[in-house]
């Protein structure tokens, strides 16, 4: 029988992969590497001139077939801060709209010459297909269908690691960390990436959702438990990660009404009080206040939603660096000669600037 077992998780990579298509591409060592490199780029981001020549002469394309504001801006900012040339293909304005096939679009882009393409598509698997078509070009999945959104999971990990004290010590504290993911897991690429990511670092993941919003099968998922009662798991949640509920899911097909969903699964102010004092609240955005998260909960100090967005740029710089920055060191992070000299590279050093 033909089967393609190598796609299953557990076939872990030793070196950093050629593409970032799914969290399964990264083992715990590679995740740690991303987070450590992110520290360095976060430091760059705090400089008066947050730009380094690391990717000078390299060309990065963003190819967004599905609307996105924050992810696209985050990736483009990351690439520009590394001095890459950034080309931006929006499906709405390109030949795609005229009926050009995906493959032709990719071949055109490859003919122009790209070092990396960052793809978002409404269909699961498009980045993987593109990766099978291109040569000498890294493919980064910026969200595909219900499948994966690996950089979102990485920035969640980075944000949680900060709240755990940062550095390798913070990383070590993921072991046994109780992570609760709440909401529409069935249709969520963020959840699929998060679950793999947290589990890779040794966290215990609990899923909370009505059965209609869980995947049809959790066979093989690295999940410690599943609950349909949010109130029962709050007291034992070190991290609560909320997922967006799209309005059409709450119109009677998956859950009867949005109101009923909110009553059972929203993180309300009352529920937030049940969390342990050090608990972290995350939301990948865009959040619908009043549906999955109460407005006042989103404003709590324990809610790190704005940090998530801020960390996104540094995490994506780290991913671009690890995929493209061939010299396997951070030497290229020095200031461009023509820029204001503020500080040098500081992979191990403290904050500068």
């Amino acid at each position: 029988m033909l089967s393609s077992a190598k796609c299953w998780a557990g076939d872990l990579v030793s070196a950093f992969p050629k593409h970032l298509l799914a969290m399964d591409d990264l083992d715990a060592g590679a995740i740690g590497e991303v987070l450590r490199v992110t520290d360095s780029f976060a430091e760059v981001g705090r400089r008066a001139n947050p730009k380094v020549p690391t990717l000078r002469g390299r060309t990065v394309a963003t190819l967004f077939f599905e609307d996105s504001t924050r992810t696209r801006m985050s990736f483009e900012t990351a690439a520009k801060r590394m001095s890459a040339d950034v080309l931006s293909f929006a499906a709405g304005s390109s030949a795609v709209k005229k009926g050009e096939s995906l493959r032709d679009t990719i071949e055109t882009i490859q003919a122009i010459g790209m070092d990396a393409v960052i793809i978002r598509h409404r269909s699961s698997g498009v980045p993987a297909r593109v990766a099978s078509w291109v040569e000498g070009c890294a493919v980064i999945n910026a969200g595909d269908g219900w499948h994966q959104h690996p950089t979102q999971a990485l920035l969640d990990l980075y944000t949680v690691r900060q709240s755990l004290g940062g550095g390798d010590e913070g990383l070590a504290r993921f072991a046994g960390l109780r992570v609760t993911i709440v909401g529409d897991i069935r249709h969520s690429r963020v959840a699929r990436s998060q679950i793999t990511a947290y589990a890779a670092l040794g966290a215990d993941v609990t899923l909370v959702a009505p059965s209609t919003l869980l995947p049809p099968s959790l066979e093989g998922w690295p999940v410690a438990s599943v609950s349909h009662d949010l109130d029962k798991v709050l007291a034992t949640s070190d991290v609560v990660s909320l997922l967006r509920l799209q309005a059409e899911r709450g119109s009677g097909e998956y859950v009867p009404t949005m109101r009923e969903y909110t009553a059972g699964y929203a993180l309300t102010a009352r529920r937030a009080l049940e969390l342990p004092p050090e608990a972290v609240i995350l939301h990948p955005g865009p959040m619908i206040r009043g549906v999955e998260i109460a407005s006042e909960v989103a404003e709590l100090p324990s809610a790190r939603i704005t940090d998530q967005v801020g960390n996104g740029v540094a995490v994506r710089m780290a991913v671009l660096f690890l995929l493209l920055g061939q010299p396997a060191s951070l030497e290229h992070m020095s200031e461009p000669p023509d820029s204001e000299p503020i500080g040098g590279p500081a992979p191990e050093g403290g904050p500068r600037g």
Binding site: A5, C7, H121, G125, A128, H147, R192, P216, E219
Partner: protein, 444 residues
Amino acid sequence: MADPGTGRMSPTAPMELLVRGGTVVDRTGSRRSDVRVVEGTVVEVAEGLEAAPGATVLDAGGCVVSPGFVDLHTHLREPGREEAETIDSGTRAAALGGFTAVVAMPNTEPALDSAESVRNVHALAQGAMAHVAVAGAITVGRAGERLAPMAELAALGVRIFTDDGDGVQSAGLMRRALQYAMDLDVTLAQHCEDKSLSGGGVMHEGAWSSRLGLPGQPSEAEEVMVARDIALARATGGRVHFLHLSTAGSVELVRRARAEGVPVTAEVAPHHFTLTDACACGFDPVFKVNPPLRTDADVAAVKAALADGTADAIATDHAPHAPELKDLPFDEAPPGMLGLQTALALAVTELALPIEHIVALLSWQPAAIARLDGASGGTQGGDVAPGRPANLAVVDPVATWVVDPAALASRSRNTPYGGRTLTGQVRHTVLMGEPVVIDAEAQR
């Protein structure tokens, strides 16, 4: 009434053909025999036949000589999708796969739901490299709303009706179609898929679809319609043929219905006993079919169905698609894969069945379902015996070959087996006395 199974000797057939050195396998058993064919008809089946001067001799040493294969499930795409396949290219692929007859599915553009459209295909199929038996649509435009003029089509020789690509969603309409079909002595072939369960699903719903974030079709989407149609066949006495059974649950339903004597038959497609839903892991739409590739347990169940007689036939569901359509994202690409040229080899490679059983599943059993066999007045299936039309497949059951998508006769290239080494090769195919394939090469 025109009978689609009654053909004439091919005008290009040699006066005399001798198939020498093989083992003849048919319903009556197997025996070492040569087969002499004169003017398209088998005249002698015996050992040690001498070739007459000028006769064409086909070497069948080490081979099985079977009645020609009959595919119950071929999408020839003409009219409407000639860029994907034509009757000419599709029947060439059929001949290379050992098929001397194919049942052409009616989901062409336009659908084969009228006498005119059926006559058109009959005309286009004149001189094709395999006999083309048309399946008519059950409902007008395959829309599932009102019955197609089945009597008019039956008068043109149509013996099977199906809305394949879709199942008839309305139980009430299916019941009426079965009652009407009984009057005409025709069979309804069902693509079992309850759309309220499968809607939007692009692969099997299970561990892999959950992991890959692709919407799935649960097994129940197939099984509820199998169960429904068994109930309707039992109630009406009308014959239902189940197309491409793919789940363990469907197999069990059919097994019990047959034990009970309900008039149902079933086919299994080669990909459903060869591939699983794990193949979707790279998101390559070449692995997208409908019904979808299922699990290991389902593969085991359909193999058991073929072994124990629950399933009567291996049918290809040969479904060509132009390359640009298979370069679409997985959820947008059309379902279907090529099947005609790999069916025999996949059966030999994947099924632990004797070759006699495999040729039964490919030849006289499907011929009987399609009413193309001798008992129905047709030219297909049946025995390799004096007086029968010479439709033969000569198969080397131990030869190995590597699937080269570019070398296939189809206009399309959507085979998932490229590069795979298979055991079992169709060596020669004889259509109404004409050797249309010799040594695995098409002769026209």
